[in-house]
């Protein structure tokens, strides 16, 4: 097991490095930097002015070097400014390099830079926003996973029955409803003055401090709906397949009652596939989070991503990317390990 974890970890690290490099490269493209210069400095700068503005702030050097600095494996730049002061990545603008300034300051050192939009350290922003999204995700999971598994198991245990057809239709409908559609429908029905059912609130801004059923249920349901159908269908397919297996017939012909055939013999085998799916679903949930947080104005991690991207806030966008990539990779790792744990046929020695 140790060896396996180590290898998966190595692959994960390589993936994370590749992905962050791609993000870094895409955010540091010339047109993006030009935009930064013009928004931060002066909108009417000429091209040479833009170039020198960028060069003075360390943007002028080659991509790998900048990436190394951002990562914290290369020492941060120190550039002498035209006005004689010194500007460094790790200490900002000063007359001379402060003696206590560290040589390297990047992600590895915990220095994630400063957001240009929020004027705050990126690390702090991400921490608070992530906590808010964590709250949202927790309730989504609490609602989605048991519902999806129940629907899937009930539908799959008697394939082709009416229960199956009814539940399968529900799950197909839910997979066909992306968050921005179900959100619109739910708000129209339950929160708009047009219909009159003003049971819930159409915005979740107040849920950031104080989540109640009234302000939090709609966003949670909106995310859960889309993911639920998919997991339910996977569970159903897996369950239906297991119920066809010879060993289920063996159990039935041993005289095991149907309920125990399902619970004791089928369930564990049938849940191996959905478990992987649930874990791999988390990156998709991230999509839903971005849409729902935008739609319901819930200022969490997804909302931050949109803000960072649309305002060309490079440092923040990089931070957000790192976190989301790491989240995705971690879920993949958990899914692999869980698969091995659940499936006795695969032994890792």
């Amino acid at each position: 097991m140790g060896m396996f974890l180590l290898r998966r970890f190595a692959v994960m690290l390589a993936t994370a490095l590749c992905l962050t490099f791609v993000v870094f490269a895409l955010t540091n493209l010339a047109p993006n930097l030009e935009k930064v210069a013009k928004t931060q400095g002066n909108t009417r700068m000429s091209d040479p002015e833009v170039d020198s503005w960028l060069a003075n702030r360390g943007y002028g050097r080659s991509l790998p070097v900048k990436y190394g600095e951002w990562l914290g494996v290369l020492p941060g730049y120190v550039i002498e400014q035209p006005d004689g002061t010194v500007r460094g990545r790790c200490f900002g603008q000063a007359d001379a390099r402060p003696p206590d300034a560290p040589a390297r300051c990047g992600v590895l050192q915990g220095d994630w830079g400063t957001s240009t939009v929020f004027r705050e350290p990126v690390g702090a922003i991400i921490a608070t926003r992530l906590a808010l999204t964590g709250k949202l995700m927790f309730w989504v999971m609490v609602l989605m996973v048991p519902a999806a598994l129940t629907i899937g198991v009930l539908a799959g245990m008697r394939e082709g029955s009416r229960t199956d057809r009814a539940l399968s239709s529900v799950s197909i409908l839910s997979t066909a409803t992306p968050e921005y559609v179900s959100g619109v429908i739910l708000i129209t029905v339950f929160a708009s003055s047009a219909v009159g059912l003003r049971w819930f609130k159409g915005t979740a801004t107040s849920a950031m401090e104080n989540a109640t059923l009234e302000n939090f249920l709609l966003p949670v349901v909106t995310i859960a709906l889309f993911g639920m159908g998919y997991i339910a269908r996977m569970t159903r397919a897996s369950m239906a397949e297991v119920m066809q297996e010879q060993y289920i017939r063996t159990a039935r012909l041993k005289g095991v009652r149907f309920r125990n055939v399902v619970l004791k013999h089928a369930l564990r085998n049938a849940l191996i596939a959905p478990f992987t799916v649930i874990m791999l679903q988390i990156p998709w949930l991230l999509n839903g989070v971005v849409i729902v947080e935008t739609l319901f104005n819930y200022k969490g991690f997804g909302w931050t991503l949109v803000q960072a991207a649309s305002n060309n806030d490079i440092e923040l966008l990089l931070g957000v990317s790192v976190v989301s990539v790491v989240v995705v990779l971690l879920t993949q790792l958990i899914s692999d390990v869980g698969y091995v744990r659940l499936n006795p046929r695969i032994s890792v020695t």
Partner: protein, 694 residues
């Protein structure tokens, strides 16, 4: 066995149908049989004849689409139709237990063996887990599994196929049922393992006094295990009776035709070839009126046999012997002789293929999913040496994992040899992968595959597939010429020319196999490797396909390398036999020499293991212990030493330390045995199979 004892199981006029959206498909019609206490009833028939449906009908487990449409099943006098769900559950597992074909599939992969075993008495008798565990240990000892404690803690995938089947048997015996239904219980197992399992089932049946319903397509196996037999054809029982009566005084043309199409001792491809049953098995919704077997029957009488449904009639003079034939009193049953078609014998010609010290090792990662750690070496072939002549049939015999398929891959160029040489016409080809072989060499060495349902590309017409082979082998200058040649090939394998435009799914298994043969001979192959070409076919079709192969071989003077584990067909077809075990040739020689003493101990065990459907045969019983060792971790010394029961006759630790040399017998030393036993011991061996004089 008299009528005073009430039967355990009594089936009367049972009919079972499956309902699809379009139509009703009758699977079993008008089926009756009785199983008395302690009796073993064999249910024999080809695939699709409804024998497994009968078993599931008894268990009342026909799924959503299956229904009993007529008749009744009585178990110990109780009508099963009256049982509600709960009563049925109580019956299943406690009174009637069932064992199926695939042991691995029958065991829950995510549940420990112990739990699966103890579940049975816990459900039915409500006893404590610990008590059930003690019972499980006893039963495991009964099925002769070593180290029962460890096995109870194991998951099914940690056990070998033979062990798994023993677990399944143990599970069936946990509640000491009065009826055991076995549905092809040994089909997935190797011959020697099969023999051991069959022995075990027989002994346990006797010990526990269990009645058995034994379902099989193998007449020999039924002869060895059962007291009574019921032959089924296309949903109906056609003949039933005591095993001796049915085997020796059969009274139904289908039974007779079956016996004439399986290779029994005495059949000879030159003098007494098998007689295949003409035509095809009728589809369930296209059954003929009257006698189902009518269209394929030699004794068919129009206007009588196809007039109305035919009932079972008792055969006078025999006990409970019945037949579903109107004409059995008219037929002269003594005329049972095999066909005497004149087949000119072709003598083997020059040596065209020589294999010298061929060695093939594979490196495999510890596991595909988690690469890393050290790679392990599979020693699939170790020092194979033999040669093959033109127009000769050389059978390669061995159980799964013996390396026969690997050898085929090396010969065909799909793999290259690790050591040694394969020489075709004095040209070495062992190191030449297929991409670097000349077209002529590729066309010379071709293959016929085992599984007819897998051998043809499902999305290409038959004609297109054969023509593609012609294109690749550069036969024929134009599209028209190739089409002509393709039609000739269809003639050669006796398929109608219209089949050229059919898709593979429109063909039966035997027809597909014929297409596979046509494709192999497209480039005028001189060596054809036939990997179990008939083992997946039904008995009645096997003979026809085997004879076709022989006939083409005779006319084309092809060298046939016939890979098989079925010694009956090997004896019938081949000129010479090569026995393989764990990558070694352990015995090679002319067919008659290999089938009579002296034997290699492994050949001896193999011969003893093969069930023969002939009441005149007596066999020496040799049951091998354990399973074939893994080729990844072969035993040191003689490969067979872990299972050999002659080992005590060899002094010292010779068997464990040294691979034996070939001992040569006969003129020119044509019969060779790789064994440490002395020549005298080998020569003093007794024959395994003896045929009682008539």
């Amino acid at each position: 066995m008299t009528d005073q004892e009430p039967p355990i199981l009594e089936i009367e006029d049972l009919s079972i149908s499956f309902f699809t959206r379009d139509r009703e498909i009758p699977a079993v019609m008008d089926f009756s049989c009785r199983v008395l206490p302690g009796e073993a009833m064999g249910l024999v028939g080809e695939s699709g004849c409804g024998k497994s449906t009968v078993a599931l009908g008894v268990m009342r487990d026909l799924g959503r689409s299956g229904r009993i449409t007529g008749g009744r099943i009585r178990f110990k006098g109780r009508d099963m139709a009256d049982l509600n769900d709960r009563a049925l559950r109580d019956l299943r597992g406690r009174d009637i237990a069932m064992i199926y074909q695939e042991p691995m599939a029958s065991l829950n992969p995510a549940m420990r063996v112990g739990k699966q075993l103890t579940e049975v008495p816990v459900i039915h008798e409500g006893i404590a887990e610990s008590e059930a565990r003690t019972r499980a240990l006893e039963v495991l000892a009964d099925v002769q599994l070593p180290d029962p404690e460890r096995i109870l803690r194991a998951y099914p995938h940690q056990l070998s196929g033979g062990q798994q089947q023993r677990i399944v048997i143990a599970m069936a015996l946990m509640a000491n049922p009065s009826l055991l239904i076995l549905d092809e219980p040994t089909t997935a197992l190797d011959v020697t393992v099969e023999a051991a399992v069959v022995d075990l089932v027989k002994d346990l049946g006797r010990k526990y006094g269990t009645s058995m319903l034994f379902i099989s397509h193998n007449l020999g196996l039924v002869l060895e295990t059962c007291d009574r037999i019921c032959v089924m054809y296309s949903g109906e029982a056609v003949e039933t009776g005591d095993i001796g009566d049915v085997f020796d005084r059969m009274r139904h043309p289908y039974t007779q035709a079956l016996f004439r199409s399986i290779p029994l001792p005495g059949a000879d491809k030159h003098a007494k070839p098998l007689v295949a049953i003409p035509g095809n098995f009728p589809l369930p919704h296209e059954r003929p009126p009257g006698c189902n077997f009518g269209p394929r029957c030699d004794y068919f009488e129009a206007g009588r046999c196809d007039a109305r449904a035919i009932p079972m009639r008792p055969v006078a003079g025999d006990d409970r012997h019945r037949s579903r034939c109107l004409r059995f009193d008219d037929i002269d049953w003594s005329r049972m002789a095999l066909g005497g078609v004149d087949a000119t014998r072709t003598d083997p010609g020059e040596v065209i293929l020589r294999v010298e010290d061929l060695q093939k090792h594979y490196e495999v990662g510890a596991s595909a999913l988690f690469r890393g750690g050290e790679t392990r070496v599979v020693k699939a072939n170790e020092s194979l040496t033999f040669d093959a002549r033109e127009a000769e049939t050389l059978a390669i015999v061995g159980e799964s994992g013996c390396g026969k398929s690997t050898f085929a891959k090396v010969l065909l160029g799909l793999e290259t040899a690790t050591g040694g040489e394969v020489i075709l016409d004095n040209r070495p080809i062992g190191d030449t992968p297929i991409q670097r072989r000349e077209t002529a060499t590729i066309a010379d060495v071709q293959m016929v595959f085992q599984n007819p349902f897998d051998t043809l590309n499902p999305s290409m017409t038959i004609g297109r597939q054969i023509m593609r082979a012609l294109e690749i082998f550069k036969v024929g200058g134009s599209e028209a010429a190739r089409r002509e040649r393709m039609l000739d090939l269809l003639d050669l394998v006796k398929l109608p020319r219209e089949f050229a435009d059919r898709m593979p799914r429109q063909l039966s298994g035997g027809q597909k196999q014929r297409v596979g043969i046509a494709r192999a001979f497209a480039g005028g192959a001189r060596i054809v490797v036939a990997d179990e070409p008939v083992s997946a076919l039904d008995v009645s079709v096997q003979a026809a396909v085997a004879d076709l192969l022989m006939e083409i071989q005779r006319t084309q003077k092809t060298t046939l390398l016939f890979i098989s584990h079925d010694l009956s067909i090997v004896r019938y077809l081949s000129d010479r036999v090569l026995v393989m075990y764990l990558g070694h040739v352990v015995e090679i020689g002319d067919t008659s020499d290999v089938f009579s003493p002296p034997y290699h101990p492994y050949t001896e065990a193999l011969l003893s293991a093969v069930p023969i459907a002939d009441t005149r045969v007596t066999k020496k019983s040799i049951v091998l212990e354990g399973d074939v060792p893994s080729a990844m971790d072969p035993p040191p010394g003689c490969p067979f030493q872990t299972r050999c029961h002659w080992k005590s006759q060899v002094p010292g630790d010779l068997c464990e330390t040294k691979v034996p040399e070939m001992v040569r017998f006969g003129p020119e030393g044509r019969h060779q045995i790789k064994c440490h036993l002395t020549r005298e011991t080998l020569e003093a061996m007794e024959p395994v199979i003896t045929l009682a004089a008539e």
